[in-house]
């Protein structure tokens, strides 16, 4: 069930330890990616087709990514200075800013889905979406015109894992003790 933004504001201290920050009622609030998704916070960099595509691919790559706030996390990271970016793409010889890489990859995925199935990625059934993800992983995907498909698969998969398992809450889900010296400002979940 989605929560209202005012509900979140009212949660005070829990929100103050969130990660994504948004302007709201003349101030700023901080939310975890999952909270931002639940509250339906607006996007700053990703447009609506891109968000739908991220969520559909995210579900194919790592089920549960939509509710975990993958699109909200990506949007936040892409909307800030590249020097502060925490995205794995930094390591992959892609020059900053990274928005073009993501948007062109998402457009390529949608174009390929339309060529093969006559509809966008977000409208595919789970089996077709999984097949498309497999084609991306292999770098052999019809109708793809964007960054290398296998690289795009790797990047988006890594982002999904970061959101699901790269946080204190994610470690807890795996039964891995976090053991922080300096804990991150949020548990992200």
């Amino acid at each position: 069930m989605r929560q209202s933004r005012r509900d979140l504001i009212g949660r005070g201290a829990a929100i103050a330890t969130g990660l994504l920050t948004y302007a709201f009622d003349g101030g700023r609030i901080a939310l975890t990616p999952a909270e931002a998704h639940a509250a339906g916070m607006p996007y700053r960099t990703l447009d609506e087709p891109a968000v739908r595509c991220v969520n559909a691919l995210g579900e194919a790559l790592l089920p549960g990514s939509t509710a975990a706030g993958l699109a909200e996390y990506l949007d936040h990271q892409l909307s800030g200075p590249p020097a502060d970016s925490m995205l794995m793409i930094k390591y992959l010889r892609v020059p900053a800013p990274f928005t073009d890489f993501y948007l062109s990859g998402l457009r390529a995925a949608d174009a390929s889905a339309r060529m093969q199935h006559g509809k966008a990625v977000a409208e595919l059934d789970p089996a077709a979406a999984a097949h498309l993800a497999g084609q991306m992983s292999a770098g052999q995907i019809p109708g793809w015109t964007g960054p290398p498909a296998a690289a795009f698969f790797f990047v988006l998969r890594s982002d999904a894992i970061d959101v699901a398992y790269g946080t204190q809450t994610g470690f807890q889900k795996l039964g891995v003790p976090y053991m922080a010296h300096i804990a991150p400002p949020t548990r992200w979940g």
Partner: protein, 529 residues
């Protein structure tokens, strides 16, 4: 503490320093500490932002902010050096996220050309560097067991007891023992006891995020505090854009910072890591040095090297607790250090195994990336199994030095008007064969250890060396054995860019030994440079 930002540069222009150190990483901070303690007036110019221990958040995500975010580097060739991943930006440079695996280079690394007619020779041998290894290991603190490390070249025993072996290390050790191979504790510049006022390590595997408790020997822990205590000044956000020479072109007189500020000193030490050191030399060309400083013999930028990673993984039924320990590992094997061990399979060179690295679920070196082929529900299943049964080890593969592997300038310029660099790196076929041999050996070890599943990873790049190598004359090198640029005596280089060969070991201990040697020589020969 004398910490400053770029806003201080106008004031600093009026001051005359004894030495300007460009870069605050392992090499720069080590040289700065020694020169400052030797009574010299030192300023350290760091291109990146200020960082303190409080910035070292235990998070694989936050750790990515410590990697390179300076001017773009075009990272090309069949086997790129992965510059952004291997470099750092800000106080402490790449050493802030280094894993503190500190083995010594071996005697055969220093005279490979003479012994094997391959690669290059250093301008001196292991025995010349040995006392500096001994000195550095005492002041920094290395944990290890020299007696068990049967391959280790002669030197003083380690000052701290060996690192503990956790479940992951014990599991892989079974495989080495079963195959009759030797293992020893991994030498780590990490505290296993309270050492010189530093707390001992908690073995929580956050080395890659930067160690904020002082257990791991990064620049914030040891040499920067020493330098600052001795009066050195550290200026952040101060990108050096040019080395300035006197009108005759015979000596350096200072450096230009962000195009607008010139700071003056008697001695300039470039310690800005491999690519930036080469870039600065090339970008500082004058009419008298038309190809760049130190480049009379067309050697600047050549012989760039990296260590290919031989990545081998296993999944065990037992709880391996793969999150415990240090990011560098727990155990060492150097049975393949003899450069001819794998000649039958076409390989040449040395490698070592770093065994049982502490890993996190995510990140480039995390558990999830080892099976980059998995997705969907199967990926969740793998993550849950591997979180408790994963084990891994990494071979550090020697990279034969090739003159064609080179850093050059491009026609594009950064925000300060300095041409951006291109690095081209192709791995020699003999080094590729060595990497393949390591994977075969690693899979055999993991199977012998009882792993239910065994798999390997791609040859990623670890460490970046060469580009400004030391040698005997301008025709074969950029500097002499002290890092002194051949045709500009008061311009010195420090860091792994000086290495003529890479060896099959991690470079940071040798970086420190070289820095100690250079600083001692400088202090003893100040007037002559």
């Amino acid at each position: 503490m004398p910490l400053k930002t770029a806003a201080a540069l106008p004031g600093l222009r009026l001051e005359k320093f004894d030495a300007i150190i460009v870069g605050s990483g392992a090499a720069g901070s080590a040289v700065a500490a020694r020169l400052a303690e030797g009574g010299k007036r030192v300023v350290i110019l760091e291109a990146g932002p200020a960082r303190t221990a409080a910035d070292l958040v235990s998070s694989t995500l936050y750790a990515r902010r410590m990697k390179w975010t300076g001017p773009e580097v075009l990272d090309e060739g069949r086997n790129p050096v992965d510059f952004v991943f291997n470099a750092g930006f800000g106080t402490g440079g790449s050493a802030m996220h280094h894993y503190a695996v500190w083995p010594r280079m071996h005697a055969e690394d220093f005279d490979m050309r003479s012994r094997h007619d391959r690669g290059l020779d250093w301008p001196f041998g292991y025995e010349e560097l040995r006392p500096y290894y001994d000195q550095v290991q005492q002041e920094v603190g290395i944990a290890g067991d020299a007696r068990q490390e049967v391959w280790r070249p002669a030197g003083a025993p380690y000052p701290m007891p060996a690192v503990p072996v956790f479940a992951q290390g014990a599991a892989i050790a079974r495989g080495f023992k079963h195959l009759g191979k030797t293992i020893a504790p991994l030498p780590l510049a990490v505290t296993t006891t309270n050492y010189q006022g530093r707390a001992k390590c908690l073995w929580d595997g956050w080395c890659d995020s930067g160690c904020p408790i002082g257990a791991l020997a990064n620049p914030l822990t040891i040499h920067l505090p020493r330098a600052l205590a001795a009066g050195a000044t550290l200026v952040n956000n101060a990108p050096v854009t040019r080395v300035v020479l006197n009108s005759a072109g015979t000596h350096a007189v200072g450096v230009e910072v962000a195009q607008h500020h010139t700071l003056h000193a008697d001695v300039i030490v470039l310690a800005a890591f491999t690519v930036e050191n080469s870039r600065l030399l090339l970008a500082s060309a004058t009419s008298g040095h038309s190809r760049g400083l130190g480049n009379a013999g067309d050697q600047v930028g050549r012989y760039v090297m990296t260590h290919a990673a031989g990545l081998v993984y296993g999944l065990f039924d037992e709880d391996t607790q793969p999150y415990m320990g240090a990011s560098g590992g727990q155990l060492l094997n150097q049975d393949s250090y003899d450069k001819t061990t794998h000649r039958a399979s076409g390989g040449f060179g040395s490698y070592q195994w770093m065994i049982a690295q502490a890993v996190k679920p995510n990140d480039l070196l995390g558990i999830s990336t080892t099976r980059a082929d998995l997705f969907g529900p199967e990926l969740h299943t793998f993550m849950k199994r591997a979180a408790r049964g994963f084990a891994g080890m990494t071979a550090v593969i020697e990279d034969l030095p090739l003159a064609s592997n080179r850093i050059t300038l491009t026609s594009r310029k950064d925000d300060n008007g300095v041409p951006i660099a291109r690095v081209v790196h192709d791995t020699d076929p003999q080094s590729v064969a060595l990497w393949k041999a390591s994977l075969a050996e690693g899979k055999a070890v993991m199977s012998a250890a009882g792993a239910r599943e065994v798999w390997t990873g791609p040859a990623g790049s670890m460490h970046i060396m060469g580009g400004t190598i030391m040698g005997t004359h301008p025709g074969n090198s950029v500097t002499n054995g002290y890092g002194q640029v051949h045709d500009i005596p008061n311009l010195l280089l420090a860091g792994p860019g000086l290495f003529p060969t890479s060896g099959g070991v991690n470079p940071t201990f040798t970086v420190h030994a070289l820095a100690a040697r250079t600083a001692q020589w400088l202090l003893g020969n100040w007037r002559s440079v």
